[in-house]
Each structure stands twice: as C-alpha cells, then as structure tokens.
C-alpha cells in the first residue's frame, strides 16, 4: 500500500509539473493531498498546515537575503565590489576564479543552505561571469555548483548535523572531512564549468561591460552593509555571551536597512516588493516540499523508502546510496540526510562514523540539483536570467563529482579517517 501511495504521489507530481504546467510548489501540495486521500487519511488539514511550516526558517532566510541583496545592488555597492575584484585580480584569472568560487560558497558555509549563496554572493558575481564570456546557463551552473559545495563545507553543514542528532553524536571533528568533501570538488567543478572562459576574466574589456561603479561618489561607505552583516554573523558566533543571537534573517534585514543610507538613494518599498516577488516561487516550493514530506511520513511512504533502501542486498547498497540519497535529496536534502542518512549510518557502523556522515551529507546535498525541486537551479535561474533546465544540463560535472566523491568517502572512510587523525 505504501509503495502504491508513493507511486501515486510521484505520478500526480509529474502530472502537475509537466502536463498541467503548475508551479512546482503547488504541484507538490496537490500531490501530497492526493496521497493522503488515497491512503485513507481524507483531507488532513492539520498535517497539510503543519508540513507547510517545516521550512519556515529557510523561507525567512530566502526572503531576507533577497531583500539585503536588492538594497546592496541598488545602493551601488555590488557594482563597486565587482569592479574592485576584477581590477585587482584580472591579471591572474585562475586565482580570481578560485576566489570567486570560495566567495560564492561563503554564506553557505555559515548557514548550511544554498539559497543565500545563490541569492547573495552568487548574484554579486553573476555579471562578472557573464562578462567573462560564460553562457548564462554555465554562469548559473557555476553559481549553483559553488552554492552546493558551500552548503556542504564547514563549519555549518546542517545535513551532517541532522545525522548527528539522529544518532546522538556531537557535531565535532567534521571540519577536515567536510573541507575535504567540499573545497577540492568545488574548485574542480568551477574550472570545468568555466572551461576556456577563464581567460575571459583577464580580458581588459570585461571591466567595461560591468555596471558603472559609484565608488567615487560614496567611497568605502558603500560596503558598510556587508561589514555590518559579517560583524553580526561573526560577532554572535564569537562572543555569544555578549552579542545576543537574533537569527540570520534579522541580520540580513538590519544590514539591508543600513544600505538605505550608504549609497545611491533607494526606496525601501521598491526593494521589499522586488524581494517578495523574487522569493515567492522559492517560498512556494519550500512550503510544498514541507507538505509533501509530512504526507510521505503520514502515509508510511517514507518508511517504505527507508526500509527498501536499507534492505537492498549488500552489493547494491552502495549503488542505492549513490542514487537514492541524492534522489530523495531532490525532494529535500535535509529530509534525505535525516530520514535515510540516520539509518544508513547505523547500518554502516564498520566505517568511520564521521566520514560516513560527511559523505551522506554530500550525497543528500546533490539533491539540490535534482528534480522535482532542483532548488539550486531554480534559485540561480533568475540570477542569471536563464531557463532552469539549461542550467541543470550545464551542472552535470558538480552532480557527478558530488556523487562519486560521496561514495568514495564511504568506501574509503576508514583509511581517510586515519589520514585525518579522526580515530
């Protein structure tokens, strides 16, 4: 029965997305409602609503990071920052490309999400990438890829933390394994995606294609919102006794509001409207995912997925890991790591637990590229103004690297752990 429910939910989702061309969020909601009905739960209002707030915190993060970015761009700071980066490092394009990758990854390292990477730092460097000659699809893939690895990179990897809390292990000792899982693969992906366009970064004409800078008029004052944001983020983490933790969304809002007085004149309502408009499809998607997961759980389809994965014959278990963890991650990376990751870790106890948890977090995060949600791709589409599917096709390298890297980390968990001194 649970298997049929799952099948029906997937079929209804496909129907909604491909045949009826509904927004994915709404299709997810409707397929969840259909699944509940067929499984004999009627129209479970409480569960539909409860599921919709599963990702309330990421939703707030998406809306507020867009608000911050909108103000940062309109104040003129973004153009200034881009020009400064290109003119400082344009002569060394490979170093610049590596730095751009790390720059995009940065918000993900602090929040454990792809959304702030794509929507803030990713959006900041998009003009540079396109100016250097990358197609819009490749630029989108570059940003999505760096965001994906940023989500995996330490210090904050929420997928790994969820696995830890599921098996009662402290989130300790993950720094090196996650760095190993994220940074080399991120750089390789970036260079693959950029290809010969790396040279474009050294093209002196690039700087002319970038939007004009208002640096001359406002000076370093332009960067104050970014400094305030970093100050709040690091302050609360470094001195938790003195600086109260207000949550990253409020930090984005406070830093954004500072942008009203540090550069070009901006109307607050314009930017707020714009941010909500940009965020709405993503918010709808996150709401839909939450409802979908709640109903998967309610109907027992979740248990079906987990038990079927775990009872795969040993030879197929690694194949299952390589395919099913990312595929479930396509619904939700967090859901996949918590729901599949925890029992998988318990089933793989002969491997070093930290390496396995880090690897599963990498595999689950690959799901951010995959349907039905394709979160990283959907997010980067408006940033580079391109069709999501084209970006997805250009993202093959990070997807493959993520899966291969994750499986390799599990297969060689023990020697790698010894190498990193984890035992």
């Amino acid at each position: 029965m649970e298997g049929w429910t799952l099948l029906l939910m997937i079929a209804a989702l496909a129907l909604g997305v491909f045949a009826l061309r509904l927004p994915t969020g709404i299709a997810l909601f409707l397929s969840a409602a259909a699944g509940a009905l067929i499984a004999g739960h009627g129209f479970p209002v409480r569960h539909l609503v409860e599921g919709s707030i599963l990702y309330l915190d990421p939703i707030l993060l998406v809306v507020t990071s867009l608000f911050f970015m909108g103000l940062f761009e309109r104040s003129g700071a973004l153009a200034a920052l881009n020009r400064a980066a290109v003119s400082a490092l344009g002569s060394r394009p490979h170093v610049l490309l590596a730095l751009l990758t790390l720059f995009v990854m940065f918000p993900g390292m602090l929040t454990g999400l792809t959304a702030p990477c794509v929507l803030t730092t990713g959006a900041m460097i998009a003009p540079v990438l396109i100016g250097a000659g990358l197609s819009r699809a490749r630029a989108g893939a570059f940003i999505a890829s760096a965001a994906f690895f940023g989500m995996v990179a330490p210090p904050v990897n929420i997928a790994a933390m969820l696995i830890c809390s599921g098996v009662d292990m402290p989130y300790v000792g993950f720094g090196w394994p996650l760095l190993l899982a994220a940074v080399p693969l991120a750089l390789v992906s970036s260079f693959f995606i950029a290809g010969k366009n790396v040279r474009g970064l050294a093209d002196p004409r690039l700087i002319e294609q970038l939007p004009p800078s208002h640096f001359a008029r406002h000076g370093l004052k332009l960067y104050l919102p970014l400094l305030l944001l970093l100050g709040l983020l690091f302050g609360a983490k470094s001195f938790p006794e003195h600086i109260p933790y207000v949550g990253v969304p409020l930090m984005f809002v406070l830093a954004g509001i500072l942008g009203l007085v540090t550069g070009e004149r901006v109307r607050l309502t314009d930017v707020a409207n714009w941010a909500i408009r940009q965020a709405l499809p993503i918010v709808g998607l996150l709401v839909g995912i939450g409802v979908f997961i709640q109903i998967l759980t309610l109907t027992g389809a979740r248990g079906f997925i987990v038990v079927e994965t775990l009872t795969l014959p040993p030879a197929l278990l690694y194949l299952g890991l390589a395919l099913l963890v990312p595929l479930f991650g396509g619904v939700s990376a967090y859901g996949s790591s918590s729901v599949l990751g925890v029992p998988l870790l318990l089933a793989l106890l002969h491997h070093n637990d930290i390496m396995v948890a880090a690897a599963i977090s990498l595999l689950a995060s690959v799901g951010d590229f995959l349907p039905p949600t394709r979160l990283a791709v959907i997010l980067s589409a408006p940033v580079v103004n391109e069709e999501p599917n084209r970006i997805l096709r250009a993202s093959l390298i990070p997807i493959l690297l993520g899966i291969l890297g994750g499986v390799a980390m599990i297969l060689f968990a023990n020697p790698l752990a010894r190498l990193l001194g984890l035992n």
Binding site: G51, C164, Y171, P240, W274, T297, G300, L310, T311
Partner: protein, 383 residues
C-alpha cells in the same frame, strides 16, 4: 538585475490571489482549531498518599507564568530516608516515559523517604508536534471508568517559547557543538543556567530542585527508535554504576533484559552526565523501544503508540536492522511502561541495599506481569 516597476496585476490575477489567500486563511483557521487541544494539560489524579503538588517554578522563580512551569507530585513517607526524583516527559514524544510517571503518581505510596514525580518535565514540548514527523497529537487509553486521552508532543521546546535556533548549538558550559534545534532539547541542556535560554532555564530549575531537596537518585524515563543502538537500556553515571549493575542483575533474574550502558564522559547536556557531575545525586536514564520515533515506520497513528506493530519494522527486523527483538507481537505500550516500572523498582531496591541509611521504601507500583495481564489502563485513575 532589478527590473523597473513590474506591471500592475490584472483583474484575474487579483481574483486568483484573493482566492488563494482566502483558502490559506481557511486552512490555517481549521488547523489552529485542531491544534488547540495541545495547549490543555490532561488531568493527573495523584494517589491519596501524595503529600503536596509543587511546581518547578518553586525552585526557580524565573519560570513563573511561562509554559515551562510544570507540576511536581511529592510523596513523603512517615519515616525519614533518601529522596528520589522520577522524570517523565523530558521528551514529550516518548509516551512510555510520560505515562510511566503518570501511572506512578496515581498509584504510589511511600513509607520511607521522599519521592518527587514530574510527568511533564518539558511542559512546553507537550504543546506542539514536530513538523515533518506526522505524529498523532494524542493517544487514548481505555480505563474502567472511560477513556483517558494523553498528548504526544514534540522532543523539543515549542518555538513559540524559544526561537530562533542558532545554526550550531553550543552547550553550556562544555562548549560542545550540536545541531541548532538541539538548543531546544531539554536532555541536551543540563545542568542549565539561570540567565540562559528558555530550555536552559528549565534545566537549571530541575538541577536546583535536585540540590535543594538533596535528591539521592534521579531516574529519567525515555524511549528511542528500535534501530537506535542504545535501546532497552539503563544508562548510568559512573557513580550510579554499582546501583545500576545490581539492579540489572535483578531485572535479568526477572526475565527483563536491559543493556547496561555507562554515561559517555564526553557527551554533554544529558541528565545522566550533567546531573551526575553537578550534584551529589546518582543519575540514571532508562530507554524503551518506541516505533513512532523511528524512521522505518509505516503507520503514523495513535495505534502505533499503543500496539507497536508495523510491517516495515517487521521487514527491518528480519533483515537484522533492529537493536531489539521484534516480531508480530510488536512492542506495545504496556510492555514499555511495564519495563520502566520494573526498572524503577529494581533500581530503588538496589539503592536501598547499597545505601541503607538513605533508603526509600515504595509500594503500590504494579509489577511488570500485572501491567501485561491487566493493561496500563487498569492502573490509571479514576479506577
């Protein structure tokens, strides 16, 4: 990147938007009505030998008029002796721990020493359910005088009481790093602090109670999923190990198998570690196996809490994935409550043997086999 002013929406778009808003509002209103009963405490009918009802805010006034404040049932014997604290509902999604504490409060009689029973240790956690888990909001137990309904809450403090979560939870005072939501997990917040967050303040109040009342023995009642390694277990602080080992021998002789586990030295915030370290009390935690907490479950209704039967768990058991014996009989709530009660008796007896000057003598607690024969409901008031 930012386009100019967007086109104003046309009439149809506006109408569609209004319909969506209305539908969302309607859904939210219906859901709110359905969720409201989670705010109301189910009644507990303490046995006649209870001396007083205290509140946790009696030990830390900072919790007065908050959702953390919770009832404590005090049983005082005629003779002086030791003091014991039994905590249920530290995790409100673990029904056997909660129900054992309720059943204890409704049946206990103390001849010597003092016993404190807290059925809803994290009271705030009882007022909501965890999104994504699709847990039932309550379960019903038939008694001779009708059905009694008990809430199934959330492992974490209600976000309405403590929010937002940091990305990484730093435990005080160890500095241990855990995932953000664990900052609302009472059993990761001990010993607590007076100026900390909501959950830390609650942990602080419990620690204060233990110190002020000179508690000798703390028993924290929990459940875990059947695939989790620490299951059907007695977890004891190193100072409590002699008591726990003797109790476990007794339980084994009664045919009730528990795994004896030492409290890990370097895993912080848990009752058995922090209360054992911070106070003179002997700290012990017990775990039974609850399918509703597992990730392998199919069913998600109140029946799963009561009968503990699930086809997917059966398949997992056959594939050797579980840490407890599991067959078609399931792991019913009667078994889990019976195990906790047997554990409480055995541990108290062991304490009495090892520290006779701080002995606590109890009666009225049904035995494991009595609970199996007559069911939990037979021991719930009004009888």
């Amino acid at each position: 990147m930012i386009p100019d002013q967007p086109r104003p929406p046309d009439k149809i778009t506006r109408l569609r938007g209004a319909c969506f808003l209305l539908a969302a509002g309607l859904l939210a209103a219906v859901a709110a009505r359905q969720m409201l009963p989670a705010r109301w405490d189910e009644p507990v009918f303490p046995s006649r030998s209870m001396s007083r009802v205290l509140r946790i805010s009696d030990y830390f006034s900072g919790l007065k008029h908050t959702r953390a404040d919770t009832e404590i049932y005090l049983f005082e014997g005629r003779e002086p002796g030791g003091a014991m604290l039994v905590m249920g509902g530290t995790h409100p999604n673990e029904p056997a721990g909660f129900l054992t504490a309720v059943l204890l409060a409704e049946n206990l009689s103390v001849e010597r020493g003092r016993v404190f029973v807290i059925p809803r240790a994290n009271h705030s956690g009882f007022t909501h359910t965890e999104p994504g888990e699709a847990h039932p909001m309550s379960f019903a137990i038939p008694t001779s005088a009708g059905t009694r309904r008990f809430r199934c809450g959330c492992r974490f403090t209600n976000p309405l009481d403590q929010w937002p979560d940091p990305e990484v939870y730093l435990h005080h005072p160890s500095g241990q790093r855990l995932s953000g939501p664990e900052t609302r997990n009472l059993n990761r917040s001990f010993p607590g602090r007076a100026d900390g967050n909501f959950t830390e303040r609650l942990a602080f109040a419990v620690t204060a109670l233990i110190e002020r009342e000179q508690i000798d023995l703390v028993m924290d009642l929990h459940e875990a999923s059947p695939e989790y390694p620490v299951i059907n277990a007695i977890v004891a602080h190193e100072r409590a190990m002699d008591v726990a080992a003797l109790a476990n021998l007794t339980l084994q002789a009664e045919g009730i198998s528990f795994a004896l586990e030492p409290s890990p030295q370097n895993f912080h915030g848990l009752t058995h570690r922090e209360i054992g370290d911070a106070t003179p009390a002997l700290a012990i935690l017990m775990e039974s196996a609850n399918l509703m907490q597992g990730r392998l479950r199919g069913r998600c209704d109140a029946g799963l809490i009561l009968d503990g039967k699930d086809p997917w768990y059966l398949a997992a058991a056959r594939a050797g994935l579980l840490r407890v014996p599991y067959d078609e009989a399931g792991i019913p709530l009667d078994v889990r409550v019976g195990r906790h009660l047997a554990g409480i008796r055995a541990i108290t007896d062991a304490l009495n043997f090892i520290s006779p000057d701080r002995a606590i003598s109890l009666s009225g607690i049904p035995t494991y086999s009595e609970v199996q024969q007559r069911g939990v409901g037979a021991f719930l008031s009004p009888k």
